[in-house]
């Protein structure tokens, strides 16, 4: 009798767990425009830890979730370098974060990250989201994905989420440079026209 009860209990628990797992979409809660973005302490390819709070005299940050292995991310590497070169002295440095689990994507391990950054001549930090703690807080789902932050007394406020520009294929055919337009609007105190944009990207491997 008691044995039967245990069996029933086990079956019930099993069924319940089975049903709760089915069809539950994994909704990633992340930042929306206007939210305050978390700071972090992540290791750079040179071994040093990087924290946003360490940056003085900046107006904000161009946080870009990117990686070695996604063709879209690779397609944008030169444009990410150009963004940093253009805006670092204007107070908006690029901070690149690699969010993939390198056990799944071995081409994104820290050694490979360092090799890629060196060969491309990255002029900005390329951080490893070790343990994948940071990208879920931001709500990043893919690479490449940009979060433009404005530094304020209350914290780093999310001002733009999305793509770098509107033509992944050919930089010469770009019509709208979303990130640059957002930064220019911030600098001039104007509203950002397109504060959220979408592109195809590689889902983050966890």
């Amino acid at each position: 009798m008691r044995f039967n009860k245990i069996i029933t209990l086990v079956i019930t628990v099993f069924l319940l767990s089975a049903f709760t797992n089915v069809n539950t979409p994994t909704v990633i809660q992340g930042y929306d425009i206007g939210d305050i973005a978390t700071d972090f302490s992540l290791r750079n390819i040179d071994g040093q830890m990087v924290t946003l709070a360490d940056y003085e005299n900046v107006k904000g940050f161009i946080i870009i979730f990117t990686c070695n292995t996604c063709p879209y991310a690779v397609q944008y590497e030169d444009r990410i370098i150009a963004l940093n070169n253009k805006y670092v002295d204007q107070g908006f440095p690029v901070i690149a974060i690699m969010p993939n689990n390198p056990i799944i994507k071995t081409g994104d391990n820290p050694k490979a990250m360092k090799a890629r950054a060196t060969s491309k001549g990255f002029t900005f930090p390329y951080l490893f989201d070790e343990g994948q703690k940071i990208y879920p807080q931001y709500g990043a789902t893919k690479t490449p994905q940009v979060y433009l932050l404005e530094k304020t007394n209350e914290g780093n406020i999310v001002r733009y989420i999305g793509a770098i520009d509107d033509n992944y294929k050919d930089v010469k055919l770009v019509n709208t440079k979303y990130v640059e337009e957002a930064i220019e609007a911030l600098k001039n105190g104007n509203a950002i026209e397109e504060s959220k944009t979408r592109t195809i990207g590689c889902s983050i491997k966890s």
């Binding site: 979409p25 999305g162 294929k169 195809i200």
Partner: protein, 177 residues
Amino acid sequence: MKLLLIFLILLGVSCKTDKHDEVALKLLTVEKTQSIDVPSLEILNYAGLEPYLSKEDSLTYVVNFWATWCAPCVKELPHFEKLNNQYKNQNVEVLLVSLDFPSQYDKKLKPFIEKHQLKSKILVLDDVDQNSWIPKVDSNWDGAIPVTLIYNKRKRQFYDRTFDYAELENELKQFIN
């Protein structure tokens, strides 16, 4: 032999005429060699794809957005192939919409289709204006792949997730039963 003859005739013609014909001849020969062993791709912009996402006939459509560079997409592709095979006689059509880069069509996509002997209908979407067409597929989609759309004239659902075969079949059954 016949082909060779046509080729020689065209070659002869092109020698006498202007550059346009030479270009035409080149195109012709390229086409000839390609059609022997490589499948031709149906390449569309979003306006061309849109009709495939809004048919109102008696079929149920399972539309999967994928790319050869997307590991989770490649992993679940056999389930869509199996679904197509099992249900093609039950008013179901699987459409595989590739988002591969144009530069990879010949290098990666075609060899991939050949190697895996894909039987489902394959469409290739080449439209850089992603910010405008992604939300048209589904307002909640932010662009990460794989994603899947199942629809018929009565019902429509978008799935921002990966599937195993049982899960996929289970979803489909809710459309055809």
